[in-house]
């Protein structure tokens, strides 16, 4: 046991000396800040409510204009002014008196045709179009109601609107899984480098003549790599907590991410043992991790979704089973790789 701790300690000392772990945390912080910036930026483009009291002025004309006005009264953020004809509405648009023009005409087929004109290439266009869509969807609902007797299945009544922040779901389903899994990839990459470097520089031979077994070497290196992961994840979760985002089930989340780290480290050790050099090992590792996580995320109940459910406190019994299953797979994979390496050695 002692020799394993010594090896783990040596690994950590190396990381500390190179201050790489600080760089790693810096990179993670950068990713987190930027993805948040991205979402804040995008949402303020998309959610007119985020811009204070954005209200658009629609110039309307045509023979179905009354119904459009009725729809506008139900939609916050859009008001409709009727004009005599399309030309009058268009000239109001041209002299900036209106943000958009809607010309509604009843057609012979019984439909309403709405010709919408929105301004081109301005910052507000997105906001205007979002509000117009809201207005026209309400209009469509009203028109559909009026024709309900012709429908075979009547549509369900909608519940009232509720105020919600669009980043709420993003924080839990994207940001938290991202922050929790970044340390996992970093740990795996670390151990690939650590082993290939020892092999490359010949120091692995020196380690072999010391009174430690290969299994102990693997254990020590893996312990260092796995050990630094949950701390980083915890740091992020605490930071989010301080920012007012409460994260539930911190214990299970850390357990899940430690299990995944173990799995990734096992894969990394296996790859480092068989790959001919560092370049090939890192390439294979990147591809393998991409495949592993891409595949797992695409499956129902993948690790990203499991973390999201745990963090948002919607976890059921299945999520608990999933955590245990991941832990089991990780342990089996690690023990398997360790055994193979202990028997076969690092093959080069």
């Amino acid at each position: 046991m002692d020799s394993r701790l010594t090896i783990a300690g040596r690994e950590l000392a190396g990381l500390r000396a190179e201050k790489t772990i600080l760089l790693a945390i810096g990179i993670q912080l950068f990713i987190a800040t930027f993805s948040s910036f991205l979402v804040v930026g995008l949402v303020s483009m998309y959610d007119p409510g985020a811009l204070d009291g954005a209200e658009i002025e629609v110039a309307a004309a045509g023979d179905a204009v009354d119904d459009l006005e009725r729809a506008a009264s139900e939609v916050p953020g859009a008001s409709v002014t009727p004009y005599e004809d399309a030309d009058a509405a268009r000239s109001a648009f041209d002299r900036n008196a209106a943000d958009a023009v809607v010309v509604t005409t009843r057609t012979e087929s019984g439909r309403v045709s709405a010709a919408v004109t929105a301004p081109d290439s301005t910052v507000e266009t997105t906001v205007i179009v979002v509000q117009l869509r809201e207005l026209l969807r309400t209009y469509e609902l009203n028109e559909r109601d009026a024709r309900a007797s012709y429908l075979e299945e009547s549509p369900l009544p909608l519940p009232d609107r509720s105020d919600t922040s669009p980043y709420f779901t993003f924080t839990y389903t994207v940001l938290i899984p991202l922050l929790v899994f970044l340390p996992v990839f970093i740990s795996g990459s670390l151990i690939v480098d650590s082993i290939t470097e020892e092999l490359d520089q010949g120091t692995m031979e020196l380690l072999r003549v010391a009174p430690v077994t290969l299994a102990e070497i693997v254990d020590g290196k893996a312990a260092a790599a796995i050990g630094i992961a949950p701390g980083q994840a915890l740091l992020w979760l605490l930071l989010l907590e301080a920012n007012g985002t409460s994260v539930a089930n911190v214990g299970p989340i850390l357990a899940l991410m430690t299990a995944l780290t173990t799995l990734v480290v096992a894969v990394a050790v296996g790859i480092a043992a068989v790959a001919p050099d560092r370049q090939a090992a890192q390439l294979l590792y990147s591809v393998a991790v991409l495949v592993l996580f891409g595949g797992a995320t695409a499956m129902a109940g993948g690790p990203a979704n499991a973390v999201a459910r745990l963090a948002i406190d919607s976890a059921g019994a299945t999520t608990g089973v999933l955590v245990v299953a991941y832990a089991g797979i990780a342990a089996a994979a690690y023990l398997g790789v360790r055994r193979v390496v202990a028997v076969e050695g690092f093959g080069r």
Partner: protein, 700 residues
């Protein structure tokens, strides 16, 4: 004269031959490094994963629903709403009877039915008089309630799509056009053409398929709109060809974020009710330039998508992905030279370090060019895409080269590589998101790619503005790394900071002092030494620019009262460091004598160099960056001088020069006295600079 040319030509030919020889050797080595077995293993892994995911997607087991089942909603099994809840991926139904709000459910759907109905247990949708969603009083509850509303909306949309009576199901047909306000309009054309709704509406926006319907709309759009619109009209034309019968379908590709029922776009096609096949088409064929400005859309109100170049952005991102793999191999190759002194034999050959590095880089640059061209062919980009990606690729390689020259071990290199990837990817990608919103987006060459994919015209000036800074940055990075491509730095285990100082100090030369009698040594040597200081500082400008942009971007989310002061100090700090770090390197490496005279002289030179370079980059004004409030704070001293008397104008123009020289001289004197004094002097200089910035902002 001719002899001189011939000599230069011959030397050039020799250089090229040497570079090519190294390149050949490097590519042979690299392809040996990643052997066939590794490559086969990688490809096999990818194939297996692709197969599994593909089968999963095809059978409906898999889906990239990261938000699956995140909200629990109480709903009775016989309620008509239970189907809507079950169909929404983010909602998990729980039995309403047992659900307790806030504990096992986040929201509960309560239906009020008409009296007398529902006696037999099941409730018909028509009998529902009112529906109320009771949600727990938390942010999660609110989000859950909003998701329920969305789920019901998309459920209704699905119901309506199955309706045989299309007119009643989708009573409103919307034709959306984007028009510039200055353009005179032909009002009759739009009105005349909008009586469609019978099959023709699909091809309307394409403008090429209007043989089948009699709308004056499609042709009207082409006639009175601007050039940009025309080109995107052709774009959507090609799109319609790829997608099949309905030209408006491309909106379904780009609308998955904002509206849950993007596939409702085929609704107005009365003749075509193959909803299933349309869904597939919209998914499989990436619609290039979908929902761009100027691209008209026709469909039901639900199909309207705000102008956002979602698909083009996604495709532009595809250009960046291979870079990450490329720099891994490149970084490994450079670091390999440095471990176990492997690169020493190459250094003792008559090859110059620049030739070695050029040769080693060439295969990777060529690979980047080939991959970029292939991607451009695949996603439908033109030569502009390749031109725009070239400086990005060069910067990726340049930054990795510097990282590999500075790193002490593979572990360190890994982090450097990841750092380079993340930084450059965000720097290239984030501005491109705002492609259609603000001209600042052009700071990233990727914006050009998005424009290219949308089929919009780009002027030569824009291309230059977008690509030149990054190309210069890449060249400077290679220059920095080349400075330490020598024996004493390559094979030693120095910390990154010391190597960085080495790389800077290499570019400096000693400043001769005039013997202490107050007589300055005139002459070229002194001028050249000071000139090199000024040049080194001027070279930091692109990096200062990038760092300031990043600072603006990161602080963007904070409230203005916090972000402006922090930003002013941060920017002052960045500029002061940029001006004085080279001087510190010079003193530390013993290039400069540690005297106050030398310190003041180099401080003066560095401040002047920075001032001149900053004035040269006054182009930021031209792109309208100064319109943003934060932008004004960051780049205040290049704008806002109009309307002042000439003397004040001149004073204002030269005020930054005085500031830069004074601050840098102070920092320089500190740098000449060692590390602690440098830190103190740098703090002082930063505070002084920040105070000046505050003055300028409040003045403006």
């Amino acid at each position: 004269m001719i002899d001189g040319f011939r000599r230069v030509g011959r030397r050039l030919a020799v250089g090229v031959r040497r570079v090519l020889r190294v390149a050949r050797w490097e590519s042979a080595r690299a392809s040996g490094g990643v052997d066939r077995r590794t490559l086969a293993a990688g490809v096999a892994l990818l194939l297996v994963a692709g197969g599994v995911v593909g089968v999963g997607v095809a059978t409906g087991v898999a889906g990239l629903d990261v938000d699956q089942d995140v909200y629990r909603v109480g709903v009775d099994a016989e309620s008509p709403y239970s189907e809507a809840i079950e169909d929404a991926p983010s909602l998990r139904p729980v039995a309403a009877g047992t659900a307790s709000l806030g504990d096992s459910a986040d929201a509960v759907v309560v239906t009020v039915v008409e009296p007398g109905s529902g006696a037999d247990g099941s409730i018909d949708a028509a009998d529902v008089e009112e529906v109320v969603v009771r949600a727990s009083d938390t942010r999660k509850g609110e989000a859950a309630a909003a998701s329920v509303r969305e789920a019901v909306e998309s459920h209704n949309e699905r119901l309506m799509r199955a309706e045989p009576n299309r007119t009643a199901a989708f009573p409103v047909v919307v034709t959306l056009r984007y028009v510039g306000r200055t353009t005179p309009l032909d009002g009759g054309a739009t009105l005349g053409g909008s009586d469609g709704g019978t099959g023709g509406s699909g091809g309307q926006s394409a403008g090429g398929t209007d043989a089948t319907d009699s709308d004056g709309d499609g042709s009207g759009t082409d006639a009175d709109d601007t050039g940009a619109d025309e080109s995107s009209a052709t774009d959507s034309n090609g799109d319609a060809d790829a997608d099949g019968p309905s030209g408006d379908e491309r909106t379904s590709g780009g609308s998955d974020e904002t509206d849950g029922d993007g596939s409702a776009t085929d609704a107005p096609d009365t003749t075509d009710d193959g909803a299933g096949s349309d869904d597939d088409g919209g998914f499989a064929v990436p619609s290039i330039g979908g929902a761009a400005f100027g691209a008209d859309t026709v469909g039901s109100p639900g199909s309207i998508t705000p102008p956002f170049p979602f698909t083009s952005l996604l495709l532009a991102f595809a250009f960046l992905v291979p870079m990450n793999f490329l720099i891994q191999a490149y970084g490994s190759s450079i670091l390999d030279e440095r471990t176990n002194r492997r690169g020493e034999p190459l250094l003792v050959t008559p090859l110059s370090p620049a030739e070695i590095v050029a040769g080693k880089t060439l295969p990777y640059a060529a690979a980047a060019a080939v991959v970029t061209s292939l991607i451009a062919l695949l996603v439908g980009g033109g030569a502009l895409s390749v031109v725009a990606v070239a400086p990005v690729a060069a910067t990726f390689l340049g930054a990795t080269f510097v990282g590999a020259m500075f790193a002490r071990s593979f572990k360190e290199l890994t982090f450097v590589t990841v750092g380079v990837s993340v930084l450059l990817t965000t720097y290239a990608f984030v501005p491109a998101i705002f492609t259609n919103v603000t001209p600042v987006a052009l700071v990233s060459p990727l914006t050009l790619v998005v424009f290219d994919l949308q089929g919009e015209a780009v002027s030569a000036g824009e291309v230059l503005f977008s690509t030149a800074p990054m190309a210069v940055g890449a060249a400077l990075l290679f220059g920095l790394g080349l400075g330490v491509y020598r024996e004493e730095d390559m094979f030693s285990q120095k910390p990154v900071t010391r190597k960085f100082l080495d790389a800077l100090a290499v570019r400096l030369s000693a400043v001769p002092v005039g013997g202490g009698r107050g007589v300055a040594i005139p002459g070229r040597k002194r001028l050249r030494a000071l000139g090199s200081v000024a040049f080194l500082t001027a070279c930091t400008i692109p990096f200062v620019f990038v760092a300031e942009l990043l600072a603006v971007a990161v602080l963007f989310a904070l409230p203005v009262t916090v972000s402006i002061p922090v930003l002013l100090v941060t920017i002052a700090f960045i500029e002061e460091v940029a001006k004085s770090i080279g001087l510190y390197a010079g003193f530390e490496r013993g290039v400069f004598e540690r005297t106050d005279r030398v310190a003041l002289a180099v401080g003066l030179a560095s401040g002047t160099g920075f001032f001149l370079a900053e004035k040269a980059t006054a182009v930021v004004q031209a792109v309208g960056l100064t319109e943003l409030f934060l932008g004004r704070a960051a780049f205040a001293d290049v704008s806002g001088f109009s309307g002042l008397p000439p003397i004040a104008l001149a004073a204002l123009f030269f005020a930054p020069l005085v500031l830069h020289v004074a601050a840098t001289s102070a920092a320089s004197v500190g740098a000449s006295r060692g590390r602690t004094a440098y830190a103190l002097a740098l703090t002082l200089a930063t505070l002084g600079h920040a105070a000046y910035n505050v003055g300028v902002v409040s003045l403006g």
